[in-house]
């Protein structure tokens, strides 16, 4: 433990405690991925939904960018700025991700442990399933959120970076599990069989999000 690695911008990123610097690096990394590959998400939503998901998501992260680059005292402040940008976005995903980021970051801690992260994921995912009303198997982002949250809880005694790596792996598996499913909630519930063999874009975005954290500490 006590490892320190370079983030993409060259700052020191603590693998043991998730502080402001490493949180910023994570969230900016995620933003860049979304902006770069928005079309992939849009294409998936086009196949099973109304084809605006990539656009909704990249508009939100672009809106968040100045806030993510401004000074902050705690990681919670950065999460809260990201949350607001998503809450101001359209679609179903905007408010749900906004809620998720908001609950995730609702902590005053300046350096998060693996337990802080696991607690945050648990709060956040609970809120999204409660308000969104979807369960695992409904072919939504929840199919990635729930296993990721469970994996982080299981790895909470480890460094935050190990916990998030476990969560990311679980999210990826969860996202891929949506391909053979026919959606019963939200978007894809209208297209039925046409949605088979297509990964849910919301679930995939959850995987991207957690993978962005592991990228910054790699």
């Amino acid at each position: 433990m006590g490892r320190a690695r370079l983030d993409r911008g060259g700052d020191l990123v603590s693998a043991a405690a998730l502080d402001v610097t490493s949180t910023r690096a994570w969230l900016l990394r995620f933003s860049e991925h979304v902006v770069a590959d928005a079309d992939e998400l849009t294409e998936l939503d086009r196949l099973v939904g109304d084809g605006d998901f990539g656009w909704n998501l990249s508009a939100a992260v672009r809106r968040a960018r100045p806030g993510l680059e401004s000074p902050a005292e705690t990681p919670g402040e950065l999460w809260s700025r990201l949350s607001d940008a998503f809450l101001a976005a359209g679609g179903t995903s905007g408010p749900l991700f906004g809620l998720w980021f908001g609950r995730l970051g609702a902590s005053e801690a300046t350096g998060w442990t693996g337990h802080d992260l696991a607690d945050g994921l648990s709060r956040a995912t609970e809120a999204v399933t409660r308000l969104g009303g979807a369960s695992v198997g409904d072919c939504t982002m929840v199919d990635a959120l729930v296993p990721a949250t469970q994996a982080a809880a299981d790895a909470a005694d480890a460094d935050w970076s190990d916990a998030v790596a476990a969560a990311a792996a679980a999210a990826r598996t969860g996202a891929e599990s949506t391909a053979p499913l026919v959606a019963s909630r939200g978007r894809a519930s209208y297209v039925g069989e046409r949605a088979r063999d297509v990964v849910d874009p919301g679930a995939l975005a959850v995987a991207w999000f957690l993978e962005a954290a592991t990228d910054t500490v790699r």
Binding site: L87, A88, P95, G98, L99, G132
Partner: protein, 331 residues
């Protein structure tokens, strides 16, 4: 090219609010970034009432902001939910410390954004959400679906809750009365012509001459069935009959009758519809204690109407009758 009285589509709702607030400067105040409307002279010491949703349904909700009804209205873009940030800002602006009731029409986006706002506000504000789902056309046996849509019963909920808040009821009581109205209300709508996209002039669906669409909502979506238009008595009689059955209204039942224009329906037509609705109710021994007839919950310029019945009791009647002073209703 436009086919309506509009400047830029992106500024449509904001400009309309500016015009509305300029017109009713004594009554309304505009808040910008995020966008919402409050009473010019806020109430003090009462439970606050906030509603909102996609625009295009005016006078709902902005027209019902004022003494005895809403404290704030939160508008989204046309037919799109406002964001939870708007709702949150509105709640923060109007809560006097006695809590806030959010009146939400049952659409996924609205429920989501208002609920998220409630969730986010929960630490510092007492918030109750009342979901309105009066539209029988969207009743389906399948569980897990979005449930019945919220339409014109929203006006009744807002009026009753507003009056309850004004007389000093506490948060639980105001929300409870709202839910009581929802439980006792049902609506059905019919369209003679779909609504027009304000930019392109395109109709949201097509009907052959003489056809009507029964079971429409307020977003230009198709209804449950396309039929040949009968007489007003037949069309309205059919809707009212189904409401009476659903609410199980027998002889002596007391109702509020709301005959609501969906946008382009002429006052002459709404009056003919009101007459038809009353005739059916009279035949069934149902007593129309009060009625409201006009365009109160529109679907842009849809030509059609909805009928809402609310089974009244003495308390609901008293709250309905209580004074109100807003841009859209005053008594």
């Amino acid at each position: 090219m436009t086919s309506s009285v509009i400047n830029d589509a992106d500024d449509f709702v904001r400009e309309a609010l500016e015009g509305l607030v300029a017109t009713h400067g004594d009554l309304l105040a505009l808040h910008d970034e995020p966008l919402f409307v409050t009473r010019r002279n806020p109430s003090t010491g009462a439970v606050a009432l906030v509603s909102g949703g996609g625009s295009g349904h005016e006078p709902l909700h902005t027209g019902f902001v004022g003494d005895g009804m809403l404290d704030a209205a939160v508008p989204g873009a046309v037919f799109s939910s406002p964001t939870s940030l708007q709702v949150k800002a509105a709640v923060e602006s109007v809560d006097t410390g006695r809590g806030v009731v959010l009146v939400v029409k049952n659409y996924t986006g609205d429920v989501l954004n208002f609920s998220i706002a409630a969730e986010v506000l929960a630490d510092r504000h007492d918030v109750e959400v009342v979901v309105v789902d009066d539209d029988l056309a969207t009743e389906s046996a399948a569980d897990g679906g979005p449930g019945r849509r919220g339409t014109a019963a929203t006006v009744v909920v807002e009026k009753v809750c507003g009056a309850a808040a004004r007389r000093g009821d506490d948060l639980a009581a105001v929300a409870g009365l709202g839910r009581r109205v929802v439980e006792r209300s049902a609506s059905l709508g019919v369209a003679y012509r779909a609504c027009t996209n304000p930019l392109t002039g395109a109709l949201s669906f097509d009907l052959a001459p003489g056809e009507i669409e029964v079971g429409v909502g307020i977003h230009g979506e198709r209804g449950r069935s396309t039929q040949q238009a009968g007489t007003a008595d037949e069309v309205v009689g059919d809707l009212v009959g189904r409401l009476v059955e659903h609410l199980d209204l027998g002889t002596g039942a007391r109702v509020l009758l709301l005959v609501n224009g969906l946008g382009a329906t002429h006052p002459l037509e709404l009056s003919v519809a009101a007459r038809a609705a009353r005739a059916v109710l009279r035949d069934r021994g149902v007593v129309v204690e009060r009625s409201l007839v006009g365009p109160y919950v529109t679907a842009l310029d849809m030509h059609g109407l909805s009928v809402t019945l609310t089974r009244l009791d003495d308390e609901l009647l008293e709250l309905w009758d209580a004074p109100v002073s807003t841009a859209a209703v005053t008594w």
